[in-house]
Amino acid sequence: MMTTLIPITRGRVRINGHDLAKRPDDVRRSIGVLPQAMTSDLDLTVEENMLVYAQLYGIGRADRERRIGELLEAVELTERRGAMTRALSGGMRRRLEIARGLIHEPKVFFMDEPTTGLDPVSRARVWELLRRINAERGITLLITTHHMEEADFLCGRVAIIDQGRLAALDTPASLKRGVGEGATLDDVFVRYAGHDLEGGRP
C-alpha cells in the first residue's frame, strides 16, 4: 500500500509530506522500492538497467550520466558498467537493483528481503552498503525481513508484525532488554510472534 501498488482501503498515508491518496506521483518520486524478487533485466547491460529507470523518473541526460556513474561507484559495479546483467553474480545483481532504486534520490527506500538468497559474503557486503546509504545519504530504509540478525544489524527501530497486527515497536536494544539478559532479536521475535510454533497464544 505504501509503495502505491495497492489502493488504500482505510486511513491515510503521508510520505515525505505527500498524501498518498491525493498525490500518488509525488509519493512515487519520494520512494525507492527493492522488490523481493530479482527484477533486473538479464538481457540488458548494467548501465542500461540503470538507464531505463532514470528515464522512467524523467531524469535529464546530464544528471542521468552523473548519477549512474556515482551510484555504480557506490555499489562497486563501475568496472561492470558495460557487462550483461546475465553475467553478474546474485550479490552483484542485488547491488545493481539497490543502485537502480536510488537513481531518483528517494527519501524513503522500501526493501523487501534485501539479502534473501545471497551467500554470507555477499550479504555482508549488501549490509555494509545499506548502512552507508543510510548514513551518508540520509535515506530512510524500511526493510521487511525474516532475518533477525539483519534487522538487528541494520535497523534503528524494529517493528514485529504478527498476523497483520503490530506486536512490538522499539529499538533492537530495548526490545532485547525486555526479553531478558543475553537475549537475541530471534528470542524477541519468538516472544511476540512465536505462538504459531507453540500452538497457542502466550
Binding site: T3, T4, L5, I6, P7, D25, R28, R29, I31, V33, P35, Q36, A37, T39, D41, D43, L44, E48, L51, V52, Y53, Q55, L56, Y57, G58, M84, H104
Partner: protein, 370 residues
C-alpha cells in the same frame, strides 16, 4: 513522454541483445511458405483414368487417341482399358482408378447423325483436387471431340498443351501475403504478449508501477516497441520470402513503401489488440495455450491460404471481423496483383481504426495497481 521512451527503449534493447526472436519469428513462416506453397502448388500427375469403350467406332477411336495424346502431353493421367462400367466403378471404389470415361455403344453413329451424344465421366470426387483437375481436362476433350465430324488427322498429331489459368498454379506466390502477415502476428505474440506476461510474473512490472509512469505511457511504450520489432521481423521475412516465392518485390521501391505502410498498420493493430486482450490476464500459460487457437482462427479464416469467396457464410463473417483479413488483402493487392497503393488504402485505414479502438480499450483495461 519519458515513460514511453523508457519502456520502448528497454524492449528494443533487449530485442537487439537477444536476436533469437528474429530468427524464430522469420524461420517459422519461411518454412511454412516453402512447404505449404509446394504442397498445394504442384500439378497433379500420374492419375489413372479407366476407359470403357462400348462403341469401337471411328469416333471412339479418335477419342481414345486424344486421351492417349493428352496423357503423354500433360502427364496428368494414364489410361487403362476396361470392359464394362461396373468393373471401372469397382476399380474407383478400390482406389485403383481416379476416374473413368464411358463411351456409349452408339457414339459414332450419333455423331454422324449430327446429334450431340453424351460421354460419361465417373469421378472419384472424394479427392477434390484430383477430380477437379481431371474433370476439367476430360470435359474439355469430350466437347471438342464428340462434336460433329471434322476431318481425321494422321495418328499422333493431336496433343494437348497446358495453359496456366488456375490461381493455384502460382500457389506459393498466392500464399506469400498470408505468411508475411503470420510473421508479424508471431512477432507480436512471442515478442510482445509472452515477454510481457513473463515480466508481469517476475515482478518487473511492479518495478515500473512504483514509478510515476502513466497507463498510457506504459501501453504506448509497449505498442511502439512491439510494432518496431514486428516490422523488423516482417521486413526480413518479406525480403527472404519474396525471393522464395519468386516475386521481384525487392526491385520495386514504390511497392516496398506500400508494403511498409500495410506492415505498420498491421503491427499497430495486432499489438494494441493483444494488449487489450491480455491487460487483465495474469496467467503466463494462457497466451501460450491460446497461441495455437488464435493462429488457426485468424490465419486460416483470413483468406491467407484459400480465397474467402469459397467460404460458407458464417466463415465469411469471421473473415470480415478478422483484422488479419485486411492485412492479407492489403499485402496481396500490392505484391501479387501489383495494384496501386490506393487499393490497399482501405485496408490500412481499417487496421488503423481497429488499432485505435484497441489502444483505447487496452489503456482503460490496464491496471495501475496490482
Amino acid at each position: 513522454m519519458n515513460g514511453i521512451a523508457a519502456i520502448a527503449g528497454r524492449e528494443l534493447r533487449k530485442f537487439f541483445h537477444a536476436p533469437v526472436l528474429i530468427f524464430v519469428v522469420v524461420l517459422g513462416p519461411l518454412v511454412q511458405l516453402l512447404i505449404m506453397g509446394n504442397v498445394f502448388g504442384g500439378h497433379i500427375t500420374g492419375a489413372r483414368v479407366g476407359v470403357v469403350d462400348r462403341d469401337h467406332g471411328p469416333h471412339a477411336l479418335r477419342f481414345r487417341e486424344a486421351l492417349a495424346a493428352a496423357s503423354s502431353g500433360t502427364g496428368l493421367f494414364t489410361t487403362v482399358a476396361f470392359a464394362d462400367e461396373r468393373e471401372a466403378r469397382d476399380a474407383i471404389e478400390a482406389g485403383r482408378l481416379n476416374a473413368a470415361v464411358l463411351l456409349p455403344a452408339d457414339l459414332s453413329r450419333r455423331v454422324f447423325r449430327g446429334e450431340n451424344p453424351r460421354v460419361g465421366i465417373l469421378l472419384d470426387n472424394s479427392d477434390q483436387a484430383v477430380s477437379a483437375a481431371l474433370s476439367g481436362t476430360l470435359a474439355e476433350m469430350t466437347t471438342t471431340l464428340a462434336s460433329p465430324p471434322a476431318p481425321l488427322h494422321g495418328r499422333g498429331s493431336l496433343a494437348l498443351e497446358r495453359v496456366e489459368l488456375y490461381p493455384y498454379v502460382a500457389y506459393i506466390t498466392y500464399l506469400f501475403p498470408g505468411t508475411l502477415t503470420l510473421a508479424i502476428f508471431l512477432s507480436v505474440l512471442f515478442g510482445g504478449v509472452m515477454l510481457w506476461m513473463e515480466d508481469k510474473n517476475r515482478g518487473v512490472h511492479e518495478g515500473f508501477l512504483v514509478t510515476p509512469i502513466t497507463r498510457l505511457e506504459l501501453v504506448l511504450g509497449m505498442v511502439l516497441a512491439g510494432s518496431a520489432k514486428a516490422m523488423i521481423c516482417g521486413g526480413l521475412f518479406a525480403a527472404l520470402g519474396s525471393l522464395l516465392a519468386g516475386l521481384d518485390l525487392l526491385l520495386h521501391p514504390l511497392t516496398i513503401l506500400g508494403v511498409v505502410a500495410v506492415m505498420a498498420a498491421t503491427a499497430f493493430a495486432f499489438n494494441t489488440l493483444s494488449i487489450a486482450m491480455f491487460a487483465r490476464v495474469d496467467d503466463v500459460m494462457l497466451p501460450k495455450v491460446l497461441a495455437g487457437l488464435l493462429n488457426t482462427l485468424l490465419f486460416f479464416s483470413s483468406g491467407a491460404v484459400y480465397p474467402v469467396h469459397a467460404f460458407p457464410g458464417w466463415l465469411r463473417l469471421l473473415a470480415k471481423v478478422n483484422p488479419m483479413t485486411y492485412a492479407v488483402h492489403g499485402f496481396r493487392s500490392l505484391v501479387v496483383r501489383d495494384a496501386s497503393f490506393m487499393v490497399a488504402l482501405p485496408d490500412v485505414l481499417i487496421l488503423c481504426a481497429i488499432g485505435s479502438a484497441a489502444l483505447a480499450a487496452g489503456t482503460l483495461l490496464f491496471r495501475r495497481s496490482l
